[in-house]
Assembly symmetry: D2
Homo-oligomer: 327 residues x 4
Amino acid sequence: MGTSNKKRAGIIGGAGYTGGETIRLLLNHPDVELAFVHSRSNVGNPLYAVHSDLLGETDLQFTGEVLEDVDVIFLCLGHGESVKFLENNDIPAAVRIIDLSQDFRLGESVKGRTFVYGLPEWHRDDIKKASNIANPGCFATGIQLGLLPLAKAGLLNEVHTTGITGSTGAGQSLQSTSHFTWRANNISTYKVLTHQHLKEIRRTLQALQPAYSGALNFVPVRGDFPRGIWVTSYLDCALSLEEAYDLYTKYYEGHPFTHVSLKQIDLKQVVNTNKCIIQLEKVDGKLVIHTIEDNLIKGASGQAVQNMNLILGLEETAGLKLKSIVF
Amino acid sequence: MGTSNKKRAGIIGGAGYTGGETIRLLLNHPDVELAFVHSRSNVGNPLYAVHSDLLGETDLQFTGEVLEDVDVIFLCLGHGESVKFLENNDIPAAVRIIDLSQDFRLGESVKGRTFVYGLPEWHRDDIKKASNIANPGCFATGIQLGLLPLAKAGLLNEVHTTGITGSTGAGQSLQSTSHFTWRANNISTYKVLTHQHLKEIRRTLQALQPAYSGALNFVPVRGDFPRGIWVTSYLDCALSLEEAYDLYTKYYEGHPFTHVSLKQIDLKQVVNTNKCIIQLEKVDGKLVIHTIEDNLIKGASGQAVQNMNLILGLEETAGLKLKSIVF
Amino acid sequence: MGTSNKKRAGIIGGAGYTGGETIRLLLNHPDVELAFVHSRSNVGNPLYAVHSDLLGETDLQFTGEVLEDVDVIFLCLGHGESVKFLENNDIPAAVRIIDLSQDFRLGESVKGRTFVYGLPEWHRDDIKKASNIANPGCFATGIQLGLLPLAKAGLLNEVHTTGITGSTGAGQSLQSTSHFTWRANNISTYKVLTHQHLKEIRRTLQALQPAYSGALNFVPVRGDFPRGIWVTSYLDCALSLEEAYDLYTKYYEGHPFTHVSLKQIDLKQVVNTNKCIIQLEKVDGKLVIHTIEDNLIKGASGQAVQNMNLILGLEETAGLKLKSIVF
Amino acid sequence: MGTSNKKRAGIIGGAGYTGGETIRLLLNHPDVELAFVHSRSNVGNPLYAVHSDLLGETDLQFTGEVLEDVDVIFLCLGHGESVKFLENNDIPAAVRIIDLSQDFRLGESVKGRTFVYGLPEWHRDDIKKASNIANPGCFATGIQLGLLPLAKAGLLNEVHTTGITGSTGAGQSLQSTSHFTWRANNISTYKVLTHQHLKEIRRTLQALQPAYSGALNFVPVRGDFPRGIWVTSYLDCALSLEEAYDLYTKYYEGHPFTHVSLKQIDLKQVVNTNKCIIQLEKVDGKLVIHTIEDNLIKGASGQAVQNMNLILGLEETAGLKLKSIVF
């Protein structure tokens, strides 16, 4: 396939973690060409000056301009920056937008652009027809993938969730809780029962189970590792383990990245991949659901590329057959 | 103070983690002399042949005999081994036993020896009068210290708890989940909602709040660090944060190792010490209680020495003013 | 390209670390089909029963038979096991062998099979014509790539080298030095100045610089991370930094995985890739050469696949455009 | 012993890592009272507001004043700040100064104050008579302790040294190389062959072996752990291993913190203690010397307290019998 047949993609905010991961995925994408990477603070520098692992992969440089002859633009900006960017720049209507911030996840719009929530395992067909995607949050992805089948079956009630995230979830800014000396071998929590992702989670779950009004109790934990999210949820459930397993495997049939297991799982099964693995347990009257994902891939840039594949009519897994780090 | 005035202590099972920590604490104890360290597999070896950090600290050797002219013996054996040891050895009745296994935590006795559950923050006066101590489990210590004040006030109902433990909690045996390559940067769970410590926890809580019958939902997590336990519990609670803080500080007044904080805590505040720090948060109608401890010290050997101090009439903090690792 | 046009590969010893990595690489290889994975202890089990990250990637099972209708077989066995395997099994002469053990790195042969040392950056053309490959050791790869240009230029003299390896270098067997509790936050050395890879290194260097007889002083260090090797070598050298950089960049021109940098490098630039990055420094009369690689990929399975590509006439980089873990 | 008989100590710069460690050591020191802790940016805050592990240990607050009725003042300031402090403050001549910066390690003086280099294993008797101490650098301590016996015997020649340091060696400022996401599982080097500690090392060694002019080649490595320094040095040496062991054990006889081993050592044997353990190996004509220390204790605050003990006539080990972290 010649370059001329490839789709063209651009990235706004290419110097951060999610920008870097999106670059890495697109550089190896078989059907998409990386047309430009925008970064105000790095104009003219080669990408590998910021993302040093790209040495030898590409000679592309950061640009200060936004090219318009592209099929899709990824916004890898901080929360609040995406809406400003779209207000201040006139992107042709034909250019699809995939926004990785939280600016449009709750139904917000800008200049007539409306956004579809980009969780393919919920409503892939809507995504295929969308022009603009609000990519889900990392914790939100892991928690929702653990609950979607129950919501669709109308079985949700009060949910108790713990999520443990790697340090990349907090971005690359220097802060006391990202200092190696502090974080190594350490554990702490933050935004207990008040995490901002609860809103987008509840919105999805209520779309599937409108009567759902139970509490979503979520304890977010800072883990002492760089990548990955572990989520454990449990709730009262009358299903047997076999029935639950059946419900989950049927729900995720045909979804190439989400897999269900009855065996003990561990986080490193999915680190550096776009996969989510779900493990089910039943203890007395409670169903326990564990989910694992890489927060930067299935929880951010990988899911963004998955959404791009869907809206551009490409193979859903294109560019996303990634080698796990595993060790 | 001359050596002749010191109390004398022996250790059975001195080659494992809790045995080693008990040795380290007793070597620096101002009022206690380490009389012998028993280990069947290491007779005649210097202690530092097994515990290599003790090079330069002591020339003591492991023995195969149990000396009887001691004031106290610590049993640092595997679960099930303590009861066998006491069945097979005639320890003089005057020698106090502090057992670190789970063999006697639920009221079991052997040869007429009955055991007091060694949680000083629950019933220190009973411990002072005891001859034999069943030292609490590591998770059990952290979870109970977070709930004791509520139980005493009769405020417990269904509790939701997550606990994250360092790898030392699993002992020094080689197993796939203790392989560095596997455990580094990894997260997993085990015994979800079924952990064996739930029994001793419930026993204590019901002693304080007899009508308590709510569920204790506990998700144990394997963390990727060697030392420490983080516990977060939450439950419905009508107290305001100020009232809860008041309840907790009053409860722990006079207890030298347990402190209450309204500021964010993190695990490394207590690693390598005998302290437990408790942080309280109130979110809507829920009280959130975080507790941190070193699983090998306050969760095992340090609490054992604290109990020894109490039953021998020594200062409760003697030998336990430990420098935190902090970083 | 249809499956029928793909080359076919088999793996002997598929349950270990290098076997697992070879599986992962071949499953995503565009031009090669994974025909069978042999493991005596896992016959009939799906690959993901051992390599749990492969859940959802393949339903292939371990076999107890060695298929003969393949183009190439990878031997991912322990040292000493490869020669036994080839003695005990009649592999058709047309089937290429790529051996990852150290059994054939010094010119050994078996049943008339002779082996070419598989370091493409040394003698790629010999590899292209080879039937059997002795894949280099992990430390040996990193050290040699740092010294090849000097050897070719006849500039080697006494070399001082430190190498720090991740825990995967020691394999998956359980041993005290691979226990998480011991290895986390720890450093130690082993086989100081006597490491077995020194032989294959010297053999290569003397092939390029026959008069080279200087000492190769190598201090191997166990690092507290799972993946990667860092090597620093220095030696007396009259070249300026510019001349050295010129020498190295010219030497590695056309080698797709090895890159030269004058900027500070760090290990994670190459983890989970087949790349080797070399950084040069000049301090007074000494040239300092740092090299980084993933010990399991460029140091083992990735280089094995690179060698396979070369002997089968495929693109050298096929199946090896891997996303770095980077964080 | 009543408080009135205790010596009194003050700390300038109490909010950093070495300040914090000095506080921790002095709070538990049997013969010294912590009179004040000065920190310009934290006046009026309790110590535990900065050093959160001190919650429950002390209610002392940071001061903005320098008390003069003390026996000793520790300067825990950045390099260049100590000389400024002493220029700008009139400290009574009777107050001893122990400076942890590098400002006075090479013989510098200020306002008539001259400083003795505080390495007790070199010249303890000089330290006992000193009024002001320049506390050695962390790498300098580890490297020198590995070479002192050879220097005294006149056996030094060209030395090849690698040192691996924990992240605390770089202090608490936020910088890209101290970001958890970057440093976890990573290795890098810095100041290769040019580290600033080489000057103080050479000065000591030449005091013992005046004719010593060989190169000191030192490769400093950033390790991915918070605490500790590992040093390996090797050099040509005609001594047998037994002779070298004899030389080292005799040299360190009577030095309570430095121990010599013929067994493999590992870093965690000394973390969180004031000890240095030295391991010797002999390979062909080369003597290999490994040394381990905690960079913040024997490499900084612990050695400072050891020096204080010596100049104040206290027991050398007072307040320094520390429990190792070991795991």
